[in-house]
Amino acid sequence: MHELTLDTVSLDYGTGNQPVLDRVALKLRQDEFVVVIGRSGAGKTSLLNLAAGFVEPTEGRVLLNGKPVSGPGQRRVVVFQDDALFPWLDALDNVAFPLKLERVGLAQRRAEARRLLSLVGLARATNRRIWELSGGMRQRVGIARALAAKPAFLLLDEPLGALDALTRSQMQELLLDVWAKSGVGALLITHSIEEALLLGTRILVLAPGGRGVRAEFRPGFGRRLLAGESAGALKDLPEFLALKRELVALIEDGERTELAA
């Protein structure tokens, strides 16, 4: 069981403004699906970039299993909103790409890529060009490619943000399914409250102005979704609606104190 820790990290882009993140602490276990939610500009992407090793904290440390890590890689893989697929490769070779970096032989890496593509429901799109794929299919390829790197943690920065509503809810269930089957820890960034409630084993509300995690929730709807209950029915539950109201209030309130400050 791997564990990724942000040990009271601060981040300052050196623009002279207040730090984007101010002494934020976060512990992520491999069996968790942690969702970070907050208004845009709250520092969600910055938090993920710290966790991924794309930027180094100005204060504090990033730890993997208790040991400090720096730089990207090392069991942490990122899925971006803009899929970041390689258009000169077809779907299969995009997924096989991380294995190519490790110099896995062609036949073996393609076999593994095929397995991962069917895990994300794209068994029949292997030889398709990237630009022939819809937004949702591209994100599936992106997720399969990330899994090919054999990560312990999947870091997802609003991967469903650009999708239409229908595709988005299909992809939410797929994400949850992949998480359950692959055994990776997930850190998902979103500004959709419903998405956070449906998927997260833990939800962190990020306060604006670098003030860190404002509140933490442990909703159990993901387990029920995995067990076969429908997303529509879950969203109508009184406890779902109550939590949703609470989250909305928290995020809006955060905004109000931000304005007052």
């Binding site: 893989v77 990122v78 060009r129 790197a149």
Partner: protein, 288 residues
């Protein structure tokens, strides 16, 4: 079309969102709108030939200045079979093409790495920019005499001059290509554990390829104009040399035939570049 406009046209906000699992239908070629420009262009060429024929048929201009289309066609035929100044047309063309592609080889060999360095590092840019900015506005003929003093009147001088003319476009387009590399692709590769060298070869180079090919296309154009001039000085083969000799003897039909052949080769090279682009980087027009 520049890479920037291509990127702009394929920007997601300009394309409609597609339903899940249903890719965009293949674009149907629009026959009517394509046919019209071709017809107009053909009409331009035909009327140009007609005017030319009329001018010489009515003897408006002396044949010494403007031979008839028929005379040019005949001289083209004899250029192919018996040749002019000790070489057939094919031999002249081969000499010129050899210089062009020899120069292109060196321009790419030096220009692509230099462009990569400029695009990738601020220090590299500071290092090479003065050289590029010095070379770029200089007409190659201005430094040809110096090259001849240094390297003599042989083949190397010609190739060096042409390569120097080709270098700026290759460098500039390569560097511009580096700027189009999506940051997230680099980050994705880094998170898969790619080394710096792997990022360069697997992410940056493929993304830069469209820029490099654009540079090569521009370089071929620059190369042709320099070639003809370079062959005016101390050559005994080549299309430029052929035209120059013909003009000295007032063999105007060969001059015109030579010009037409140069235009034709340039046109074919442009077509070849397009084919190469379509095969090598079909994705370039689709990237976002």
């Amino acid at each position: 079309m520049t890479i920037e406009t291509r990127a702009l046209l394929s920007h997601p906000s300009l394309t409609s969102p597609e339903a899940e699992g249903r890719p965009a239908p293949p674009r149907r070629p629009r026959r009517k709108t394509r046919l019209l420009p071709v017809l107009v262009s053909t009409a331009t060429i035909v009327s140009f030939l007609l005017l030319w024929w009329l001018a010489s048929a009515l003897a408006l201009v002396s044949p010494v200045f403007l031979p008839s289309p028929a005379a040019v066609a005949i001289s083209l035929g004899s250029l192919v079979t018996t040749g002019f100044v000790d070489a057939t047309l094919a031999e002249h063309a081969a000499a010129s093409l050899w210089r062009i592609f020899g120069a292109l080889f060196f321009a790419v060999l030096i220009g692509v790495p230099a462009g990569l360095v400029i695009g990738l590092s601020r220090i590299g840019k500071a290092l090479f920019d003065p050289v590029v900015e010095f070379l770029r506005p200089l007409p190659p003929l201005a430094y040809l005499p110096l090259i001849i003093i240094w390297f003599g009147i042989g083949e190397p001088s010609k190739i060096i001059v042409i390569a120097l003319a080709m270098l700026p476009p290759v460098i500039i387009s390569t560097a511009a290509g580096v700027k189009t590399v999506p940051k997230d692709q680099v980050r994705a590769a880094r998170s898969f554990g790619a080394s710096g060298l792997q990022v360069l070869s697997h992410v940056i180079l493929p993304n830069t390829l469209p820029g490099i090919l654009t540079g090569i296309r521009i370089a071929l154009g620059a190369g042709w104009s320099t070639l003809v001039a370079a062959e005016l000085v101390a050559a005994n083969r080549g299309l430029g040399f052929m035209i120059q000799s013909a003009s000295q003897f007032l063999v105007t039909d060969v001059v015109i035939a030579g010009i037409l052949v140069i235009a034709l080769i340039a046109f074919l090279l442009e077509g070849l570049a397009r084919v190469v682009e379509a095969r090598l980087i079909p994705w370039a027009s689709h990237r976002n």
